[in-house]
Amino acid sequence: MNRFAVALMLAWPLLAASNDTFLLKNVTVHPVTGPDIANGMILVENGRIAEVGPKVAAKGARVVDGKGLHAYPGMIDSATQVGLAEISSVRETVDTNELGDFNPQLRALVAVNPESEHLPVVRANGITTVMTLPFQAGGGGMRGGASTTLIAGQGALIHLDGWTWEDLEVRRGAAMQLVFPSLETRSFRMESMSMARTPFAEVKAAYEKRLKDLTEFFEEARRYQQAKKGGAPGFQPDLKFEAMLPVLEGKMPVMVLAARERAIRDAIQFADKQKIRIVIAGAREYGKTLADLKAKGIPVVASPTLELPLNEDDPYDSAYTVPAELYKAGVKFAFATFNVQFARNLPYQAATAVAFGLPYQEALKALTVNPAEIWGVSDQIGSIDKGKWADLMLTDGDPLEARTQIKALYIKGKQVELTNRHTKLFEKYMNRP
């Protein structure tokens, strides 16, 4: 980078290109992967972290004094529809939930709207990366959530700043989203506005049929893989099966939405049989599957903690304690909001878990380095370590604390605006004559 460019950036820091270079000093560094560094320094070169430590040479870079501030890696929300859904009740602004059982070829990344009002809102709270998913959660065995989709498409890991979806990309096809079939005898009937019961035998048969459909689709995909490899005569490319190849090769994990113990159990079995990598997402009841998850090294995207109990007789804190249970069982997990605009509350999901038994440091990991590892991007993001993208938040305190202010946010080394629709409306009405 030449001197002229640096001078330009000093004058108009907000217009800086993404590949910024600067030295952050006088901050308490919380790398998450290692011990905190009081009065530490972070050297950012071309958007990446070049050096971290108590003393780092500036090498001529611009110096930013962060006196009294804390530097944390940007947080990662492992399940959202950010960028895909704008106003849930306006159909035209919602680009999720395609029809059909099998849509592995759908890529959330290309549908992301970088101009979404939700991006600045969510990142203002220190969230720099989200997994955005083609299917709105709620199925997978949640009560009344019998969904019509099995394989919903490919979720994308995106940064919350950029001009185009290409800018946003951290990892396209970070996970294949699978809505595991649900088995519920109770369902809500619109006509009578009441919960109705279906005999167990009937739902079970339907459930098994769905599982069979799913298995058959995987087998077909596998035949396609063989045919392609063998150069079979008359081989025809098919986008659906093509999209399944990374899954079958174990390169892309399958994110399985499953709410209850039975679905998790069956999903684990399914993964064993199909020899695929899975991540269990959104579960509320693990029951006896925790040991299995641990033994097989299956990671988990924890369900939101700020929820009511699932069953009538559950303890009031049953949603709050799930992350602590996962931790105690030795299961690797990440936090997620399963939401769009309320993705900004991600740190408070973690805070509640800490209040209900999860060690603080584990909560921080589950917001940063754990999701980076689960989605295969731990060389890129998730901690303040040399070589990673400079996704940093500068705070005046503990980010899990609701009163803490985010003073500055960097995505790929570029300082991003913290103003957003909320702050604009705040200004507008505060200044109302």
Partner: protein, 449 residues
């Protein structure tokens, strides 16, 4: 010949057609319900009525005599709330205390003239949605209903039959479970207005919610009040007055001497007591699953209640992995204690079968209540005299007393014992002998499995 004499002759002719003019049961144990039980006595039945009851009675020469040695005579059993004897009756819907409690209740079209196009969804109370308050079970009665014989063979001689579809479903009638013509079955009519809280869901128009249903019922009673006053004023001096529109929905409500309101859970019971008092109408609550929690409140309110004998049960075909709620478990364990609790508190209550399919299952349900603390006497009373009293018919039904309608059940063994045999049933003095029960053939499926 004067009309009167012809009338008398006509009836004499009928009487003469039935040779010996009565039946006497002697040496039987007689549970009169109204008074003390007679350990060895005689009941004489003649002309459809109980002519005499007593320990030492001389038996007239012109009656059949039945030796009642080892038998017990009870008043005929009354199912206080039923659809038996009514055509196309859906199985009695569980009182839809709230949307979603029972099965979805089909809504009878409110103003569906035959051949008329489908009525548009109701928009408010003025459209009188889900209302057939003018329907009367006495007009609907059908002697061909097969359940009549099934229940009569089990000792039931009468039912409080009600239309049960809709919010204002219609008026009930007390029907005897015998007779070739519908008219012979009717003892009294109308008994009251059967009210449910059926809401139509999202698609069916007003009311689509519980609050809408309650507001609707309230409005109808206010309208009925107004209507009654307007009609009276007009009848007094029609000249110079605009005549009030005829409203059959309100006519039906005004004809009904009492309202039957659904209340199963404790909150519903409390709510319906307040609501019933507001209606300024005598009212009866039906359902009462959680009556065991509300006995004192009911006593204080003084409203009689009809207790469903369909005790909550574990859902068949349920999900084996589903954990039942504490509330469901508690209600299931405690509901059969409701009758005992009501009896202790001194609440007037009667039983109704609520769609329990066979008399055998009904008796099993009563035994559950007895096991939960109800005395045998109170159980009999709840199925006989109390039911009659609740409908104001204790002058003709409900006990073995001189002058009452000869509805009797004669059993070998105590009424509620498993092995009790119903030997004879008398309905309006007509004797029925239930066929010997043959044990059900073993299920084939089970043999082959």
């Amino acid at each position: 010949m004067s009309k009167l004499i012809r009338f008398a002759l006509l009836y004499a002719g009928i009487a003469a057609a039935a040779p010996p003019s009565g039946v006497a049961i002697r040496n039987a144990r007689i549970v009169t319900v109204a008074g003390p039980t007679i350990e060895k006595g005689v009941v004489i039945v003649r002309g459809g009525l109980i002519e005499q009851v007593g320990a030492d009675l001389s038996i007239p020469a012109d009656v059949w005599t039945i030796d009642g040695q080892g038998l017990t005579v009870y008043p005929g059993l009354i199912d206080a709330l039923s659809t038996i004897g009514l055509p196309d009756a859906a199985p009695a819907a569980a009182p839809a205390g709230r949307a979603g409690a029972g099965r979805p209740t089909a809504i009878a079209p409110a103003t569906g003239a035959p051949g008329a196009a489908a009525t548009p969804p109701a928009r408010g109370p003025e459209d009188r949605p889900s209302t057939t308050s003018w329907q009367n079970a006495a007009d609907l009665a059908q002697p061909t209903d097969r359940r009549i014989e099934t229940f009569r063979n089990g000792g039931f001689t009468s039912v409080g039959a009600f239309p049960m579809r809709g919010i204002f479903a219609g008026q009930g009638a007390l029907l005897n479970l015998a007779g070739d013509k519908a008219g012979q079955m009717v003892i009294a009519s109308p008994l009251g207005q059967y009210i449910t809280l059926a809401s139509s869901g999202f698609s069916g128009g007003f009311p689509g919610s519980l609050m809408g249903a309650i507001a609707y019922i309230r409005q109808v009673y206010i309208d009925a009040d107004q209507y009654k006053a307007a009609k009276a004023l007009y009848a007094k001096n029609p000249r110079g007055l605009t005549r009030p529109d005829y409203d059959r929905a309100l006519e039906g409500v005004l004809e009904s001497p009492r309202a039957l309101l659904p209340a199963s859970r404790a909150v519903e019971i409390a709510r319906m007591i307040r609501f019933g008092e507001e209606l300024k109408q005598p009212f009866i609550l039906y359902g009462l699953n959680e009556g065991y929690r509300s006995a004192d409140l009911l006593k204080q309110a003084g409203a009689p209640v009809l207790v469903s004998l369909k005790w909550p049960e574990k859902t068949r075909d349920g999900d084996p992995e589903e954990v039942e709620t504490l509330r469901a478990l508690e209600t299931r364990a405690s509901a059969p204690g409701t009758p005992a609790a009501l009896a202790r508190a001194g609440v007037m209550f009667a039983f109704y079968t609520d769609g329990v399919a066979t008399p055998r299952d009904v008796m099993k349900a009563v035994r559950k209540a007895i096991d939960a603390g109800l005395t045998q006497d109170d159980a009999v009373r709840a199925m006989t005299l109390s039911a009659a009293k609740i409908y104001g018919l204790e002058d003709r039904l409900g006990s073995v007393e001189k002058g009452k309608i000869a509805n009797l059940v004669v059993t070998k063994g105590d009424l509620f014992q498993d092995k009790t045999e119903v030997k004879y049933v008398f309905v309006d003095g007509q004797k029925f002998e239930p066929a010997e029960e043959t044990p059900a053939p073993p299920s084939r499926q089970r043999e082959t499995q």
